[in-house]
C-alpha cells in the first residue's frame, strides 16, 4: 500500500506541477500582454517622436519625456531610423537627442540589464561623438564577456574615431573559444585599413597566433597599402595552408602586378585551395603573363580549380579568351569542357570568341 500511495502521490504532484506551471505562465502572459501593449505604444511614440524631431515639428523632444527611460527601445528605434536617414535631418535628430540627454541614458544602460539591451545602447552611442561616450564604451569593453557585445562596442569605438588597439583585438580574438569568429573580421578589417603600419608590425610578430595571421593577411590586402606586398608574398609560401590561401587572397585584393611571380608559383601549389585562390588572384590582378599557367590549370583534376581558371582567363581580355577558345578546340577532355563552359557563361561561342 505504501508503494501504491507513492505512485499516486507522484501522479498528483506531477498534475499539480503541470497545472500550476501553466496557470503561472498564463497569468504572467496576461500581465505581460499589458506590458507588451505599453511597450508597443512606447515604441510607436518613440518612432513618431524621432520622425517629428527630424521634421522639425514643435515640441517633439518634449513628447519623448515619458519614454526616455526606455533605453533599449529608444536605441533600437534610433538605429533603425538612422540606417535610413542621412544629412541634415540626421544631424538635427542627433543634436536634439543629445540635448535631451539620451546619450547619457545609453551610457548608463551599458552596464545594466540584458546583453541585447547593452548591445543596442553600445551601437546607438556611436552616433554621439564625445569623450563621455568613448570613456563609457571603453569601460564597458573592459567588463563585457559576450563576443557579440564586445564586437559591437569595438565597432562603436571605431565609429567614434577612438578605435581599440589592434593588438588588443587580436589578443581578445585569441582568447575566445570560437577563436576564428567571423564576427571579428569586419572590426579587424577596419582597424587594419586605418592603421596598416601597426597591422604590418603585428603580422610580422612571430608570437601571433596562426588564426590571427590568416585574418590579418586578408585584411592587409584589403587595406590597399602596398607595403603589405612583400610580407604577403612571403606568407604565400608559408607552410600553413590557410595562411597561404589568405595571403594569395590578400594579394588579389591588393592588385599589384609585382605579385606576379608569387601568384604564378601558387598556381602550381600542391593544395587545390591554394591553386584555386591563385587562379582568382591572377584574374583579379589582370596578370596576362599567367595566361599559359592558367590554361594548364583548365586540365586540373579538381573542378573548382578548372572553374576558377576558366573565369580568370575570361577576365583577362582578348589574350585570355583566345587561350580559352584554343583550349575549347584542342585541349584535353577536361580543359575542352572547362574552356567551352567558361566561354558559354560569358555568352561567347567557341567560334565567336
Amino acid at each position: 500500500m505504501g508503494e501504491l500511495l507513492l505512485i499516486w502521490s507522484v501522479s498528483i504532484i506531477l498534475s499539480a506541477a503541470a497545472l500550476g506551471w501553466m496557470v503561472a505562465l498564463i497569468l504572467a502572459r496576461v500581465l505581460r500582454e499589458r506590458t507588451e501593449q505599453r511597450r508597443e505604444r512606447d515604441r510607436r511614440l518613440i518612432q513618431q517622436g524621432l520622425l517629428d524631431i527630424m521634421n522639425g515639428a514643435g515640441d517633439a523632444v518634449g513628447r519623448l519625456r515619458g519614454v526616455r527611460h526606455r533605453a533599449r527601445l529608444m536605441a533600437e528605434a534610433l538605429l533603425e531610423i538612422l540606417s535610413l536617414v542621412r544629412g541634415e535631418e540626421r544631424e538635427r535628430l542627433i543634436s536634439a537627442l543629445h540635448a535631451f540627454g539620451v546619450d547619457e541614458i545609453f551610457r548608463r544602460r551599458l552596464s545594466r540589464g540584458s546583453v541585447a539591451g547593452r548591445l543596442a545602447a553600445a551601437e546607438a552611442l556611436a552616433i554621439f561623438p564625445g569623450e563621455a561616450a568613448v570613456t563609457a564604451l571603453r569601460e564597458a569593453l573592459a567588463h563585457a564577456h559576450s563576443a557579440e557585445l564586445r564586437v559591437g562596442i569595438m565597432h562603436s569605438l571605431i565609429e567614434l574615431s577612438a578605435p581599440p588597439e589592434l593588438d588588443e583585438v587580436l589578443t581578445d580574438l585569441a582568447g575566445r573559444q570560437t577563436s576564428d569568429s567571423l564576427l571579428y573580421l569586419p572590426v579587424i578589417g577596419q582597424l587594419v585599413t586605418e592603421r596598416p603600419w601597426a597591422a604590418l608590425q603585428s603580422f610580422g610578430d612571430t608570437r601571433l597566433s596562426g588564426e590571427a595571421r590568416v585574418i590579418l593577411a586578408e585584411a592587409l590586402g584589403a587595406s590597399g597599402d602596398f607595403r603589405a606586398l612583400r610580407p604577403l608574398c612571403l606568407a604565400a609560401r608559408a607552410p600553413e595552408i590557410e595562411l597561404r590561401i589568405a595571403a594569395i587572397r590578400g594579394l588579389a585584393a591588393l592588385r599589384h602586378p609585382a605579385a606576379e611571380a608569387t601568384i604564378v608559383s601558387a598556381l602550381a601549389d600542391e593544395v587545390w585551395m591554394v591553386r584555386s585562390a591563385a587562379c582568382e588572384a591572377a584574374g583579379r590582378i589582370g596578370l596576362r603573363s599567367a595566361v599559359p599557367a592558367l590554361a594548364d590549370r583548365l586540365e586540373d583534376p579538381v573542378w573548382w580549380v578548372r572553374f576558377r581558371a576558366g573565369e580568370a582567363l575570361g577576365a583577362l581580355g582578348d589574350t585570355g579568351r583566345a587561350h580559352l577558345r584554343s583550349m575549347a578546340i584542342s585541349g584535353g577532355d577536361l580543359s575542352r569542357r572547362a574552356a567551352s563552359l567558361a566561354l558559354a557563361e560569358r555568352g561567347l561561342t567557341v567560334e565567336a570568341a
Binding site: 506541477a17 503541470a18 505562465l25 498564463i26 569568429s181 564576427l183 569586419p186 557563361e345
Partner: protein, 482 residues
C-alpha cells in the same frame, strides 16, 4: 495448474515492469531534454529585429545557396519563388530544382521570371538523375532554375548542391514559408564559429490558422483544426525541446528537410543525400557526424530555436497517418544503415545519446508501447495484475506526458512568445493535456505501421495533399518532417 498460474503471474510482472521501465526511461530522457533546452534558451535569448540583425551580421555573413526542390507545384511555385527572392540576406542565390514535374511547374517559372537557357559550369561531385537544362532569369540575377529528370527530393537536392557555388547551402521545401530574416538568424552559428559549424537546423512551425499574404506569415494564430492544433504542440516539443537539447550537447541527429543550412564541402565529402531512403534528412546529419568523428575533426551541428520556417500541417487523419508512418520508416532505415555507430566508442555522444535515443524512442518505443496497451489490460483481465497498480501506473504515465508537453509550451512562452494572445496559450495548454488521450496512441499506431512498411521494405512516399497557403489546392507533396 498452480505452477502455470504462478508462471503467468511472474511473466506478467516482468512484462509490466519492462513496459513501465521503458516508459519511465523515456520520460526521464524527456525531462533531461527539457532541462537542457531551458538552459540553451536562457543562455541564447532571441535576437532583435531584422534590421538590427542585418546591421550586426551582414558584413560577416557568408554567401548562401537556397535549394528549393519542386515537384508538380505549378499552382504555388511562382509565389513561393517570389517570396524566397525577397528574403533579407546580403548574398544569396535561389536554385529551384524542377524534379521532372509532370504539370506545368517549369513553364510557370519560365513565363513568370522570363527564364532563358544558360550555360553554368558545375561540379559533378555527387550523383543524380540527368539535368535537362539550366535557366537564368532575365531580371533576377539571384534566380537559377535547374530542370532535371525525376529522381526524388534527395536526388534533386544533390543536383542543387552540384550546381550551387556558395560555401553554404540551405535545403528546404519549395512550399514552405521562410521568415524574411530566416537566413540571417540561422547563419549565426556559421558566423560565430565558422571553422567548426557544419550544419544548422532551424525551428519549423505550423502555419495553419496563421494569416498569410504573399508568402509571408503576417499574424501568428493557432490552427482552427484539432489535428493541426495537436501537431502544433507536437512540433513545439520536437523542436524547442528535443532538437535544442541534443544540439546543446552536439548529439543532434536530425535537421528537418523543411529547413537546414549545411556546409557544402562537408556534405559533398559525406556523399550528399542518400538515394533510396525516405529519411534522407536524418541520414545526412548522421553521415556528417560520422565524417567528422572518423576524421577526428572538431565540429558542431547547431540548432536555432527561433522560428525560421512555416509549414502546412495535414488536417486529415489519413494523410497525417501516411506522413508519420513514412517519417518513422525513415528513422528506422537510418538506424539500420548506421547501426554500427551505437557500438563504436569513437562516436561518443552521437552513439550514446543520439543513437541510444533513436533505439529507445523510435525502434523500441512503439513496440513497447503496443505491448503495454495490449498485454497489460489482458493480464489485468486475466486477474494477474492488480487493478490498483494498473490505474496508478497509467495515471503516472499520462501525467508525465502532460508535464512534458506543458514544459515545451512553457519554453515557448518564457523565451519566444510567438503566439500573441493569452487565450491562444490557454487553448494550447488544453491541447497539451488532450493529446495524451487518443492522439498519442494514434501516433503510436502510425509508427507501428511505419515499422511494418520498413519490414516490408516499402519505398512508397505516399501522397501528401496540401490545401496550399493561398487556399488553392496544391499538388501532392512529400511533406518535411518536424
Amino acid at each position: 495448474m498452480a505452477a502455470i498460474a504462478s508462471g503467468l503471474q511472474v511473466m506478467a510482472e516482468i512484462i509490466a515492469l519492462f513496459v513501465i521501465g521503458t516508459g519511465l526511461l523515456q520520460n526521464g530522457i524527456y525531462l533531461i531534454q527539457l532541462g537542457l533546452a531551458a538552459a540553451a534558451l536562457i543562455q541564447t535569448p532571441p535576437t532583435a529585429s531584422g534590421g538590427l540583425l542585418w546591421r550586426r551580421y551582414a558584413d560577416a555573413a557568408p554567401p548562401i545557396a537556397l535549394l528549393a526542390p519542386a515537384y508538380n507545384e505549378a499552382l504555388t511555385i511562382a509565389e513561393s519563388v517570389r517570396s524566397l527572392l525577397s528574403l533579407h540576406y546580403p548574398s544569396f542565390e535561389v536554385i529551384v530544382i524542377n524534379d521532372g514535374s509532370r504539370d506545368g511547374t517549369l513553364q510557370v517559372l519560365i513565363d513568370t521570371f522570363e527564364l532563358r537557357p544558360i550555360q553554368r559550369h558545375h561540379e559533378q561531385a555527387i550523383a543524380h538523375a540527368p539535368i535537362r537544362g539550366v535557366y537564368g532569369a532575365a531580371h533576377q540575377p539571384r534566380l537559377i532554375v535547374v530542370d532535371k529528370e525525376n529522381g526524388g527530393k534527395a536526388d534533386a537536392l544533390n543536383a542543387g548542391i552540384n550546381v550551387s557555388r556558395a560555401p553554404i547551402f540551405c535545403s528546404m521545401d519549395a512550399d514552405s514559408l521562410l521568415e524574411p530574416d530566416a537566413l540571417l538568424r540561422a547563419v549565426k552559428p556559421f558566423v560565430e564559429d565558422p571553422e567548426r559549424t557544419v550544419a544548422v537546423g532551424g525551428t519549423v512551425r505550423i502555419a495553419n490558422g496563421c494569416t498569410i499574404s504573399h508568402g509571408r506569415v503576417l499574424e501568428v494564430r493557432p490552427p482552427r483544426n484539432l489535428l493541426a492544433l495537436l501537431q502544433t504542440v507536437e512540433y513545439l516539443r520536437a523542436f524547442l525541446m528535443a532538437r535544442l537539447a541534443w544540439s546543446r550537447i552536439n548529439a543532434l541527429t536530425i535537421i528537418s528537410g523543411a529547413f537546414g543550412l549545411f556546409r557544402r564541402a562537408r556534405v559533398i565529402e559525406a556523399g550528399g543525400y542518400t538515394h533510396g531512403t525516405v529519411g534522407e534528412d536524418m541520414e545526412l546529419v548522421v553521415k556528417l557526424h560520422r565524417l567528422m568523428r572518423d576524421k577526428r575533426l572538431p565540429y558542431r551541428i547547431a540548432f536555432v530555436p527561433e522560428p525560421v520556417c512555416w509549414t502546412e500541417a495535414p488536417e486529415d487523419l489519413r494523410v497525417l497517418g501516411r506522413q508519420r508512418a513514412r517519417w518513422h520508416r525513415g528513422a528506422l532505415e537510418t538506424f539500420e544503415r548506421h547501426r554500427d555507430v551505437l557500438l563504436k566508442p569513437r562516436y561518443g555522444r552521437v552513439a550514446v545519446v543520439g543513437f541510444g535515443y533513436i533505439l529507445l524512442v523510435d525502434v523500441l518505443g512503439p513496440i513497447v508501447e503496443l505491448l503495454g496497451y495490449v498485454l497489460i489490460p489482458l493480464f489485468w483481465l486475466a486477474g494477474v495484475l492488480s487493478t490498483a497498480y494498473l490505474l496508478a501506473f497509467l495515471a503516472v504515465s499520462f501525467t508525465f506526458g502532460v508535464v512534458i508537453s506543458v514544459g515545451a509550451l512553457a519554453l515557448e512562452e518564457s523565451e519566444l512568445r510567438r503566439f500573441p494572445r493569452a487565450r491562444d496559450l490557454v487553448l494550447l495548454t488544453g491541447v497539451a493535456v488532450l493529446e495524451n488521450f487518443g492522439y498519442r496512441q494514434l501516433n503510436n499506431f502510425w509508427r507501428l505501421r511505419g515499422v511494418w512498411q520498413y519490414l516490408n521494405r516499402s519505398q512508397s512516399w505516399g501522397t501528401m495533399t496540401r490545401k496550399g497557403f493561398g487556399g488553392t489546392a496544391a499538388a501532392p507533396q512529400s511533406g518535411g518532417r518536424p
